[in-house]
Every structure is written in structure tokens, then in C-alpha cells.
């Protein structure tokens, strides 16, 4: 981070993950390697090639949201609204006591409210247009989480949505940091994606990257010789970001600071479209004024597609050297959460810093040929002062973020 730039702190976490609803349950599971991947329960997968998912357990929307919001929200928005409430409470922020124009909402999304949209399209074709909910006008839309969080909490400052598949989750945090550096006092940022429904499933299958294995412990194996694609999941995290000095002045708990951000885009393979991830890592480190040597852990994108694992391992070896830094992928316990994955990894990073452990990558037996020091099986005790989080999106998106522990 250049000395002139405003330091941006993360002061609140709200988590909805397949292996735990709420930060406490999520971290209790993640720190010991407990997976939340299992057979899809939200719809019948007969006839579909992929049958496993990471589904958020125990979420009863009516327990968390007023009835006014239930008819107008998709599952992903309900999760996002609850996670936003938890993040604000965790940051000890009462939005009603603050200037609405000094608070923004910047989230990422990969799909939108697909389950809601599917139900309304079904009504359109089977019953007619009179039966389609008026709320279809926005409930399916990928910007809807930002909008609903903004309305619920009267947050009227700089707001928007970033769409870059998985990389979007870090791009949203980078945009939030930009808004704070331009003077906005607080930004709620991150992402929750959830489209485990037939329409969402059909869309995800088109990537060709979904694992078709049916044993949860053998389905999502990044950096393993047996890697065969990923298991999709739902959920993510929302974070409260603030000017670090202002956060300290109000006596907020500072989890850590977002010191480096970078995004790059790969050209087409025919134009030698490689190397974008390494560039993103180097730019993010430079932005954080950090050398590779000070990075204590890398949270990998962990695609579990052999050529993508190879590209990520190549980038990490190029920057850090052979087995030069501990690497982990707690997303092996949740499945890939699309935009939600990277904000959840950032939350996990901050929890790892607080406890002094690196949560493990589960089930994978790393191929030694990748030259990675992958933390597997058990959590590893380690002082985590500086961490790198990576996220890629389908089509060439690469993003990287560098976080430092609070002083």
C-alpha cells in the first residue's frame, strides 16, 4: 500500500456457508476440515450428470427477515440480507444511526435469483402472465442483493454490483475500497450466490467444469491427479469495510486491512492468453507494498480442472518459488460458491489470522508435480500476518487481494 493511500479495514463479517450458517458455525467447521458437500436436496437431480452440492444448512428465511421481504426475494437474496445484518451487527454498526449517504453497498453476483425466476417463468408458460409475480421485475436480477441490502439498511452511498464470475467477489471488495478512499465512510461488500435449482444447474453445467462424481469425498479435488471439476455450492460472505483510522476512532474491532487489490484479464488462448493470474498476484503485492516473502498463506482459487490447477500452480511457483508458501483451499469443504467464494475466503483469512491457524484443504492429495505446499488433512498452526486470496472467473478473469492482520 502506498503511504498516501487510505488504509481500509474490515470490521464486520457475515457468513452463510454450506458447512456453517453464521461465522461461528462456519469457523468451527472450517478450522477442523468439516465439509458441507452432499447430495443436492433442493431439487431432484435424476437425469442430471452432476448430483452433489454445498447447500447452506438450517436457514429459515422467516426467522431472519420480515414477512414484507419474503414474497419479493429469491433464496440468494434472503441469505444475503441475513448475512448483511450479521456483518453490521458484528461491526457494531447501527445503520439507522448513521448518514445514509455515507454508507454504500457493493456486491458481486454470478447469476441472480434463478430459483425465483424459474418459478415465475413456469407460471408464465403454464398459467399465463396474470400469474407472474410483480416482483419478478427485480427479484431475479443480479443487482438485487445490493438493492435489497441498500433499501433495508438505508444505505444510499456509492453502490453497485460487479459481475466477473468468481473473480467478481474480489472485484467488489476492490471497488468498495475505492469508494472508501473517495470518502464514503462505510461500505458493505462481498457476495452471496445461490442458484441450486434446475435452471441454475442447467446454466452451471454448460461450463463443462462440474464434477459428475457422486461420492462427496472424491468429487472436488483441486491440485490432485484425480481432479475432475468442481462441486457447486451456495452462500458467501458480506463484510463491513471502513477507513481504518475512522474505525479505530469509533472503537471498532479491526479484523484486518485490505492492502492490495488487482484484477487482470486473459487474452484468448490463440493469442497466448496466459499469465494473467501471475500478473494479478504481482500487482496486488505491489499495491500492498508487500514482497512474496512476507506472505504467510495463499487461499487458492482451486478450480480442480487440471489445466486450471496447472496454471494456478505455475503462477504461485513463479512468484513464491517451489513450495515457497503454504497454500490452502477451504472451499473444498463448501464447493465453489461462484462470486461468494472469494469474500468467504477473505472472511476465512481474517479468522485464520485471529486464531493463528491455516484451515486445511480436504480430500485432495496434491500432485507433487505442482510444487505446492498444500495444507491438507489437518489445520496447520501458523502466525498469519499477511495473506493472499485468489479468485478466477470463467472466460479469463483473474483477481487477487492481499490482507494484513490488524496491528
Amino acid at each position: 500500500m502506498s503511504p498516501a493511500a487510505t488504509s481500509v479495514a474490515i470490521t464486520g463479517l457475515g457468513v452463510a456457508a454450506p458447512n456453517g450458517l453464521g461465522t461461528e458455525d462456519y469457523w468451527a467447521a472450517t478450522r477442523v476440515g468439516k465439509s458441507g458437500i452432499g447430495p443436492v436436496s433442493r431439487f431432484r437431480t435424476d437425469g442430471y450428470p452432476a448430483t452433489l452440492a454445498g447447500e447452506v444448512p438450517g436457514f429459515e428465511a422467516a426467522d431472519h427477515l420480515p414477512s414484507r421481504l419474503l414474497p419479493q426475494t429469491d433464496h440468494m437474496t434472503r441469505l444475503a440480507l441475513a448475512a448483511a445484518d450479521w456483518a453490521l451487527a458484528d461491526a457494531d454498526v447501527d445503520p439507522s444511526a448513521r448518514d445514509g449517504f455515507d454508507m454504500g453497498v457493493i456486491t458481486a453476483a454470478s447469476s441472480g435469483g434463478f430459483e425465483f425466476g424459474q418459478n415465475e417463468l413456469r407460471k408464465l408458460w403454464s398459467q399465463g402472465s396474470q400469474h407472474v409475480s410483480a416482483y419478478q421485475s427485480f427479484a431475479w436480477f443480479y443487482a438485487v442483493n445490493s438493492g435489497q441490502i441498500s433499501i433495508r439498511n438505508n444505505m444510499k452511498g456509492p453502490s453497485g454490483v460487479l459481475v466477473a464470475d468468481g473473480a467478481g467477489g474480489l472485484d467488489a471488495l476492490a471497488q468498495a475500497r475505492r469508494a472508501i478512499r473517495k470518502g464514503t465512510g462505510l461500505v458493505l461488500s462481498g457476495a452471496v450466490d445461490a442458484s441450486i435449482c434446475p435452471w441454475g444447474w442447467a446454466a452451471m453445467l454448460t461450463s463443462g467444469r462440474l464434477s459428475t462424481r457422486d461420492r462427496p469425498e472424491r468429487a472436488f479435488l483441486p491440485f490432485d491427479r484425480d481432479a475432475s471439476g468442481h462441486v457447486p455450492g451456495e452462500g458467501g460472505a458480506l463484510l463491513v469495510l471502513e477507513d481504518t483510522k475512522a474505525a479505530r476512532r469509533r472503537g471498532a474491532h479491526v479484523y484486518g486491512t485490505l492492502d492490495g487489490c488487482a484484477s487482470t484479464f486473459d487474452a484468448a488462448p490463440s493469442r497466448d492468453g496466459t499469465g494473467g493470474l501471475e500478473r494479478a498476484i504481482r500487482i496486488a503485492l505491489a499495491d500492498a507494498d508487500a514482497t512474496p516473502a512476507v506472505v504467510d498463506v495463499v487461499f487458492a482459487d482451486a478450480a480442480a480442472v487440471p489445466e486450471l490447477d496447472r496454471a494456478e500452480a505455475d503462477a504461485l511457483r513463479a512468484v513464491f518459488g517451489e513450495r515457497g508458501v503454504p497454500v490452502t483451499a477451504p472451499k473444498t469443504m463448501t464447493g465453489r460458491l461462484y462470486s461468494g467464494a472469494a469474500p468467504l475466503d477473505v472472511a476465512t483469512t481474517l479468522l485464520a489470522m485471529a486464531e493463528g491457524i491455516i484451515p486445511p484443504t480436504v480430500h485432495s492429495r496434491p500432485d507433487p508435480g505442482y510444487g505446492l505446499d498444500l495444507v491438507t488433512g489437518e489445520p496447520r498452526t501458523a502466525e498469519v500476518r499477511c495473506a493472499l486470496v485468489l479468485a478466477r472467473g470463467h472466460g479469463g478473469f483473474n483477481s487477487a487481494a492481499v490482507l494484513r492482520a490488524a496491528d
Binding site: 414477512s67 414484507r68 421481504l69 419474503l70 410483480a134 416482483y135
Partner: protein, 87 residues
Amino acid sequence: MSASFTLDDLKRILLEGAGAAEGVDLDGDILDTSFTDLGYESLALLETGSRIEREWAITLDDSALTDAATPRGLIGIVNRHITAAAA
């Protein structure tokens, strides 16, 4: 379905289609309370109108919902449509 549209019908349809705002008691004396004060914005009223049209097999004018500022106003408009449809 009764012959006329009542406050109970409206309350049920509001709850099904749009829920109730926190701090608002639909069982209170709401006949002359504005929909805005009851926490329903234009989209909630659009959804409410759509459900009334389906259930009572009537067609409301586009302006009916925006003109009816209160439950009493909307109930009157709906009943006039029901009477006209039956005539």
C-alpha cells in the same frame, strides 16, 4: 368467494402477495390509512391488484391502484368492478 370484496379479502391478499411491514398491524383500524403508511409501495400494490384480478376474474384499470390511496378506496373500486361484471 363472497359476492363482495371485503377488508378481510384485501388483508389476506396483501399478506399473501406482499407480507406486512414491521410495526404495522393489519388487524387495526386501517381502512383510511394510506397504503404508503402501511408500508406498501407501488410494486406491492401492482402485485395485490394482479392477485385480486385473478381471484375475482375482473380487470382493473391501470390507474385504479394508483388512484386508490387507501384500503377503503381500493375496496370500493374492486366492488364496482365486481358489480359491473355481474350486471
